[in-house]
Symmetry: C2
Subunit: 203 residues, 2 copies
Amino acid sequence: MATRTDAPTRREQILKEAARLFAERGFHGVGVDEIGAAVGISGPGLYRHFPGKDAMLAELLVGISGQLLTGGKRRVAEAAGGAEGAEAVLDSLIEGHIDFALDDRPLITLHDRELDRLRDSDRKLVRQLQRQYVELWVEVVREVYPGLTEPAARSAVHSVFGLLNSTPHLGRPGSLPGRGDTAALLHRMARGAFAAAGSPAAG
Amino acid sequence: MATRTDAPTRREQILKEAARLFAERGFHGVGVDEIGAAVGISGPGLYRHFPGKDAMLAELLVGISGQLLTGGKRRVAEAAGGAEGAEAVLDSLIEGHIDFALDDRPLITLHDRELDRLRDSDRKLVRQLQRQYVELWVEVVREVYPGLTEPAARSAVHSVFGLLNSTPHLGRPGSLPGRGDTAALLHRMARGAFAAAGSPAAG
DNA sequence: CAGGGAGGTTAGCGGTCGTTAACCTGAAGG
DNA sequence: CCTTCAGGTTAACGACCGCTAACCTCCCTG
């Protein structure tokens, strides 16, 4: 839980700015000179830190997927240790995903937008991490709503991801009703969506 | 309601293929030669039909936004004519959006991905159409759930759009549980999400 | 049957972009 | 004090890409 107080490395600066620029204008829409300028160095200087532009995107996407999966696993394990039910685990997963979506909006945008720009091996890795993350959710969701078939649960999970990942469309951070309220609203809506998916007896 | 039986014009072919390619690899990731090849002509031949590559994207995005807004307005007007309540109007809006998301998946993808690649004037137009569409929903949603503040309703609408627009992530059309089932699931989830947003008294 | 426009073709220009090459500099270490 | 090396710099190359120019070929029409 060591909260970092030391300054970010140049490498981390580059990744952060690259993520922002890629999210704003797309991978092909951003030049290496722009990324360099964003961290105060110029174009080719980036090649002291990364073998190429592709490598930056790859590291970003692998990092995102891995971070989501690791966080999800941790939350499932923690909750399983206590006496809480599956509902609490689901709440924890939702909370973690919302935190990520609200804190790292550019990364969320990249996550489902630029995957196809990766080399085959990297793309396979990211897809595998994503799949594991989805399966994590599917298991928990089916435990809470046993009526759901597995394909339906998977569709529901993907749809809730779409709901939670909508934060980049909610306007600039200032125009939101406040982070806490937004998080609470998203959480309620996600639970409501799952509940509706799990009970086909709607009017 | 004249269902078209005549063959699509060359212009329409181009737009359709361009939409698919843009959705797959991004606007900057597709060359005009590829678009031409996709319709059986080669590169510069496209310039007999469009003034430039940008114009294809512009026409696609303006078309999408306009189509959504027009359809939404029509549905609101139709339902308002009958004796049905706001709930029925909301259901109709959801149904229309789902139809669009399931039938024109590449367009849905483009819709919130490549907007920034447009000329200023086109982007303003698209944004204006989108805003009107959102306001259409917000009004209906607040009628059904009067407890929602206006900002909360707008956030909820954007989030439900994220949910409904998740169809491109649901795997290839073949792997879905069947179009009707998928549409029904999405519809239930959207209603559940709105209901949860509208009643802060969750446990 | 002339002729003109719609809708193609290929060749090529000009600009952009990712990447490499060659060089510079300041700080650390023996 | 000399060396080394991490981390920069600018110049330039080669590929790609959007677009234009110039030309061709049907087909429709008067």
